[in-house]
Symmetry: C2
Subunit: 144 residues, 2 copies
DNA sequence: ATTAAATAGGATAATTTTGTCCGATTTGTA
DNA sequence: TACAAATCGGACAAAATTATCCTATTTAAT
């Protein structure tokens, strides 16, 4: 569904959001540890997300990553997926055809349309805040 | 969503089904040409599908690939996807967690469950015959 | 100033996926 | 039997993705 990079990106953003809600900035090391991801690779992904202004990075000692309170509720999963994987998930034919649309459909075009739409709707309606909801109470987790 | 190999596999199987309905066996070359896929790579995929008895291969001169009439209507997309990509599409956490289930869910577990279920339902209910329906009349295509 | 802790970013490596090449084998036909 | 047309299968190559390493830079604290 998503690339590894994207999966790490969503998990990392969610963890950063969780800690930002508590008012603390988190380091790359802590993030990678808490979401069980390779440190250096995670760093690259966080750089991407930082450039796209989905998360904020603070350099230097006491630096780390954080997300503003307003962004925690406004940033949707769709934006993270788009920032890392582009629009392949939403567009892009299920059978890999470049030219596939309602006028010139592949045999499963119409059936995929609906599933993609549901996925899109889900990603566009789920905020980072929503993602953190179950985490505090241990109802959900981000590791392994 | 699916690997390239799987996309080629579905397109190839659909084309073979189409021609088998007309009573003709097709060669690797023709298949690759008609679905616009790399010849040698397609050969590997057809081998897999042949071993899983989704398609039949006939060696030697006048050889090629075909699908029995009964299989054209009985083989579902789900079987092709499973033969090539395994069960990652159906199972496998949306965020890449190994341990993610209803007892220990990731933050999007429940939301993914529904989308995956719809995808599964679609793949399990669409036969190769269904795939060929629009092809003859040119309503759908498999190329590019 | 110096040091320590942190991110930034370029280069490189490992792995997986995708794709190619070529000889071996099978089979129909002359 | 010889040949041609086809798949089979192993080895290899290329490309994309995932992951690591190392140096530079930034910043806080001493």
């Amino acid at each position: 569904m998503f690339s590894k990079a994207c999966e790490y990106g969503i998990r990392a953003s969610t963890y950063i959001a969780l800690k930002s809600l508590e008012g603390t900035r988190v380091s790359l090391k802590e993030i990678a540890d808490k979401i069980d991801s390779p440190v250096a690779f995670t760093a690259k992904i966080l750089q991407q997300l930082s450039k796209k202004q989905i998360i904020e990075s603070v350099k230097g000692s006491l630096g780390g990553f954080q997300i503003s309170q307003s962004n925690i509720s406004q940033i949707k999963l769709a934006q993270i997926v788009y920032a890392i994987d582009g629009n392949n998930v939403y567009e892009g034919c299920g059978l890999g055809l470049k030219r596939c649309n309602s006028n010139e459909p592949c045999p499963v075009h119409d059936k995929f349309i609906q599933i993609r739409a549901d996925l899109k709707e889900m990603l566009e309606s789920t905020s980072l805040y929503d993602m953190t909801m179950g985490l505090e109470e241990g109802l959900t987790h981000l590791k392994r």
